[in-house]
Symmetry: C2
Subunit: 297 residues, 2 copies
Amino acid sequence: MSETGLSIGFIGLGIMGLPMAANLVQGGHRVRGFARSEQTRAKAAEQGIEAVGSTAEAVDGADVVITVLPDSPDVVEVGLGEGGVLGHTAAGVLWIDMSTIDPDTARDLHARSTAQGVRFLDAPVSGGEAGAIEGQLSIMVGGEAEVLESARGLLDLLGTTIVHVGPAGSGQVVKAANQIVVAGNIQILAEALVFLRGQDADLERALEVIGGGLAGSTVLQRKRESLLAGDFRPGFRARLHHKDLGIVQRSARAAGVGLPATALVTQLMQTLVARGDGDLDHSALYAQCAELNAVKP
Amino acid sequence: MSETGLSIGFIGLGIMGLPMAANLVQGGHRVRGFARSEQTRAKAAEQGIEAVGSTAEAVDGADVVITVLPDSPDVVEVGLGEGGVLGHTAAGVLWIDMSTIDPDTARDLHARSTAQGVRFLDAPVSGGEAGAIEGQLSIMVGGEAEVLESARGLLDLLGTTIVHVGPAGSGQVVKAANQIVVAGNIQILAEALVFLRGQDADLERALEVIGGGLAGSTVLQRKRESLLAGDFRPGFRARLHHKDLGIVQRSARAAGVGLPATALVTQLMQTLVARGDGDLDHSALYAQCAELNAVKP
């Protein structure tokens, strides 16, 4: 599928999905996208996406279906529900789910797709809105290697790091591991900052020297300015990271592994959402830790 | 002190201290180092360091005294004990303590030094043995800014990132914060690896894609190969990191801040030492987490 002119049905024209669909149009493909609201319909049209009013209309006759949805139940509903993807796709069609969902759900969707001759990949992404706009996402792909190879021409339009990580569900497993590390690195950096604040240290100078050594991280690099400014506008919303940590929790329990620090960080992300900060950036774990200690973030 | 030919008394010719002292000799200074054992004496002589048999002999008549010792009590003993630094140095001498010790102890040594006209800097380092050998340490300096400026010529021989982080004790505060982040980032990466192992994921491919995004870190970059190989030879010994987390714990309590994830990681570093792995690299937190879950590291 390195050829152009494929017909693509696209479900999920949100913050991530819309620029991804636009990049597929730029790559020479015909994209029909399901848009519920007039506003999304207009934005989609601007990008050369043909907006339609239902999943069925988007996927009927498509060569490829792409879903970018918030959570597992959304993908199940769009995939298996009435008027859903599997009810309207013929054998041979490729369905790429790029949402972040439960690995078990991804495996189930793979099995159901395979049973009717539809090829399925779980291909969650990281890189945020900027990565989606610039076509520079990291894409972790689970499923048959040869199916990924047939889709590489399309995925190359969306990302720069595209790695086949294993059989069906593996993309979601790796994405979950990724979300463990990001949340953990944010929380531990937050605590180091509160420790420094508690002793009236110069945060800016401290982070300069900390970032240059073994304590350096991409979180520190990318969030440094906003953390120092106490600016917690999203970025990646805490409630979405909280959702992802729920996936981690269920998957870890199913796999039978205990992860003590991850469990604690999961609870702290939960309290961040509980206190009404779910729509702040996930780095607001720092604001919570600072407030808990009555120090200024 | 950018001039050469200073007389430097050096206490602590260990894994870090010896190459640091050697770099001072290379920089054109006369270094007298206290070496207890015949072996250290021989190694020191090879590097052009004049080995002497006591702290008093090393520091008598020196322009600058440098200490690089394992822990707070060592520095107190060498500094204040009989035949120690403050008993054998005249007003105007500069004492740079480059050990990692309690901020409170550093403040106390600063006060006692100042009382007798000795200038004192707390200047702990990060960068490990390799950084010490190559003169590429990061140095976090607490104390008077003008004292640091007078010492910069010397410190430039030892490190590449030399940052004045605040008044006396601040260097140790920032070093403690640094050790929080390193331990936390190791533990959370360890848990992500155990999560992946528990689901039979391909670790090498997973880390390739994880390292490229927001989950990237210097720990992941530098420890990746050894973690994948299950190689836990030091590097930085767990028991020394455990010692550093003790400093964190006392400082945080004194400052009155609660750090939940740091507390947990501190306990896990403690159990790593308790089970007899204190002489392994601190990344053996992964071995411990894997074993706890009966998965192969």
